[in-house]
């Protein structure tokens, strides 16, 4: 409920005197404070850091042979020497989770970055150009957005060898559409703002307008979107891996491990499904939590001060 008090003009004694001006903080710092005050966001952040440490630093402390399969030790239940058992090739599952996590996280991040760079440029150019160029560029986005993402990615990945680079490129190149739309929307509102007009009047070139004024101001939206892109790319990669088009043997990703687990579900080999499933859910959930909190933190209207 809006009270009468808050609508009343500010009384003179509430204006700060000169000494308080120094306390004004930048928007980014305020956003960071807002982010840190959200318990779920901090939890998501901590979980993500732990997952990254587990996947990338874990193998330094926990040694397991992930290159030579051992067909004498296949599908062992968790026990001595193999805390999470072994898989159908005799690989230690705990070590396998770390290795699969590395590729899943790397591909998720790279794909998100590729998508964001393409989408940001596309959206910024369309929004700034306006008119027929904008309309044409946005129809291209409409067309590509209509084509089911997973289908295209699967068809393309049949043709190309599946390593971290190729999968990152495939996933990134086909998922820049949402960032393009978001950035265009931002640019459309920003380009009529006074500081952009001022820069233009001062003779700023178009590329300077884009790189120095529009992109930095649309950055909040872009950063929020990166976290969701990472989550989506990790999910999409898990689907590719699950259908057999993920990282090639002896490399692995979490989807590929779920595929192995699915084939052994009838045998009751739960350790091939649940550990990797939980890691996958935790990773995606952490990214989504961080994204939600960042969105709230950067949205000035939602900020409580």
């Amino acid at each position: 409920m809006t009270t009468i008090d808050s609508l009343a003009p500010t009384t003179p004694d509430s204006t700060p005197d000169g000494g308080e001006v120094g306390k004004v903080q930048s928007g980014w710092r305020l956003a960071l404070r807002e982010f840190a005050s959200s318990k779920l966001a901090v939890a998501g952040f901590v979980v993500l850091i732990l997952l990254i440490l587990f996947c990338f630093v874990g193998p330094v402390f926990y040694h397991s042979d992930q290159l030579n399969s051992n067909l004498l030790l296949t599908d062992l239940p968790p026990g001595q020497g193999n805390p999470l058992g072994t898989d159908g090739n005799g690989f230690d599952v705990l070590g396998r989770l770390m290795k699969g996590g590395q590729t899943s996280l790397e591909i998720g991040l790279f794909a998100a970055l590729i998508a964001t760079v393409i989408g940001t440029l596309w959206g910024a150019i369309a929004g700034l150009a306006g008119g027929i160029v904008d309309a044409a560029m946005m129809r291209v986005v409409d067309v590509l957005l209509s084509i089911p993402f997973l289908f295209v990615v699967l068809i393309v990945s049949v043709r190309f060898s599946s390593n971290v680079t190729s999968l990152s490129i495939i996933l990134g190149v086909f998922s820049w559409l949402i960032p393009a739309r978001l950035v265009r929307g931002e640019v459309l509102t920003l380009r009529v703002r006074d500081f952009v007009s001022a820069a233009r009047v001062m003779g700023a070139t178009r590329s300077r307008l884009i790189t120095r004024h529009l992109i930095p101001n649309a950055l909040g939206t872009v950063i929020v979107n990166i976290t969701f892109q990472v989550a989506d790319a990790i999910l999409a990669l898990s689907a590719l891996g699950f259908l057999g088009f993920g990282v090639q043997y002896p490399g692995t990703d979490w989807g590929d491990q779920l595929y192995d687990g699915a084939g052994n579900l009838n045998n009751g080999y739960w350790w091939l499904i649940y550990p990797v499933g939980i890691l996958l859910i935790l990773t995606v959930m952490a990214c989504n939590l961080i994204g939600d909190a960042l969105r709230d933190a950067l949205d000035v209207r939602l900020r409580r001060r």
Binding site: S146, I147, F151, L154, R159, L265, I273, L280, I281
Partner: protein, 316 residues
Amino acid sequence: MRTGYLIRRLGTAILVLIGVVLVTFIMLHVIAPSPGRAALGLRATPEQVAAYNLANGYDRPLIVQFFSYLGQVVHGNLGWSYSLNQSVVSLLKEKAPLSAFLSGASTVLAILIAIPLGIYQAVKRNSVGDNVATAVAFTLYSMPVFLLGLILIDIFALSLGWVNANVGQDQSLSGALAHFTDLILPIVSLTAVAVASYSRYQRSAALDVMAQDYIKVARAKGLAERLVLTRHLVRNSALPMITLIGLSIPILLAGNLLIEGVFNINGLGLLFFKSLGSEDYNVLIGYTLVGAVLTVLGNLVADIALTAADPRIRLV
């Protein structure tokens, strides 16, 4: 004003459809540049392949080939599946009813659950019920649908033994419905994931509406809370869901593909999956094209329905 909007919207849709056909044409040519090789197999000599490509017009300039492809598509011809020796359209027609039933049933169920759930969560926001529902939805939202399917199989089919883990290989809808219990888990998986995303939208849409002045006015004039909810909140907040459902067709198709893979259901998704293995690009790209056309039409229908249902849009 309103017909003007509809005509413009229709024009965009047609433009986008032509663009979609262009993209699938390019995909076909980049991924499967020599149809002769696909048709005649690996043992054919290069001369035979060249002769086939010449006889079927695959050596003409690309622009000519595009228009002949566009003509074929308009006439409902999506090419031939060389691995299954059947036309792509007849294959898709055979498999479509079962997949349409799975997607349709799960979408209807998801809407029926998500709208009341989202509104309940918004009205009772930050209550225990809202927090539990948000947490469950968030978990499901962060989970690939096939993983949910696997967990459900493990619990309900393998541990409890209530249903079969695999669905019978009947590809006809009536045959599959004869073993309806087998379809419960796939439908539950698809529904749960859809409810997770729909209810999040519905909750925030309802929260937006609850902050509007007309809700305050309705309350201030003494309208019973029940009427405020049904007349003002439900109508205004559930309408945008129409657009969301139109937009979610690609996700629906992807979910269908994964779930049919997990449960071995003999529908479109499994056809696509098997065609990936046999590199049957006419089937793969034909189905992709059909999916894209469905998406464009879904969005068009959603926009038109929303225009019809929501008087505010007529002013645009």
